[in-house]
Amino acid sequence: MRLASVDMVGGVGHERSLTQIKFNAEGDLLFSCSKDHIINVWFSHNGERLGTYEGHNGTVWTIDVDSQSRFLVSGSADNELRLWNVSDGKCLFVWEFPTAVKRVAFSDDDERVVCITEQRMGYQGAIRVFNLNRDGDGTNQSQEPEHMFHPIGSKATVCAFTYTPNLVLTGHESGKVALFDVVSGTEVLNNERAHMDIVTDLQLSPDRSYFVTSSKDKTARIHDTKTLRVLKTFTTETPLNSAALAPNKPYVLVGGGQEAMQVTTTSLRQGKFETRFWHKVLEEEVGRVKGHFGPINTIAVHPAGTSYASGGEDGFVRVHHFEESYFKAKPYGDLEIED
């Protein structure tokens, strides 16, 4: 795997571990959030920091940016969901909840936001859908969600809108993957055995017809959105924290690793913190990239497939630009694969 790597160099970056990173639709910007309470935005081509979004008073667990790069949403351990103006870093609106916000995601039309709040201290875990008012400067939002429900059973850890309106995908602590109708709050379909342990990440294909998940069960899997059938499995030796799909190439990128405290033998130290590339159709490994001194917490691929970024427990965000040979390589011959 031939790559050129860029470290995020502007300012101090992050002082604590990364929790999620996201490219905008054009891929020129990379957003990162961290346990240091800060959200940063970087120029993805050179790693220079463009700005910060400051205001949260706890770990920022999750972020998402709309397709126009106008609004950013973030969820935090301070029990807040915030809406930000991307271009000037201004906080436009704050929604407050009884518990931490663990995951946020925009709908494909940018009109709605779905979020998961944690089950804690007598409060049930909840999934809420907000209808965003995109008119004016964005500060005129409704405090009340359009829909809200409490998934029964295992806690939801990740969520995303499907291509069907009102249908939301969830991943759970038990390893379950499910589809919820947000209007009725009912689970319309599930796969209880999608994974054997916590689902840590869920990223959709561009048309949202399939998605990749990562899990602490050391596997990443591709699922059919419509049927929730597992189509592909990528088995590794470490608990996984993130999995991403590479546009225009048939690859899945996975990252994870065990905390140093859990590592008992030196052999386990080998190759723990690499991003691994798998052929998504053939389920064969195609390459590994080193770059972090601790577990990889989050991976995102540039929407044009020209680079990818990883965020680590070590506090680093790295962007890796693929070189010419990556685009020319046809590791398994001339088979044409539909994206």
Binding site: M1, T164, S209, V286, G287, Y332, G333, E336, E338
Partner: protein, 59 residues
Amino acid sequence: EDAAEESNVSAELVAHRKRLVDEWNAWRARCKRDIAEEKRSRGQKLNGEHHEEEKEEIE
């Protein structure tokens, strides 16, 4: 080492890979039809249909 360099593979493996790719491509074609149907049922005009309708109006 990159698996990208690999070239000496058995005919069996080549056939296996071809089968996996064929299955994947057939499934992707079904997905694309499903999405098109979903959009149609929501009353969204697809680009292709839109052009046909415009032609009919001209006639």
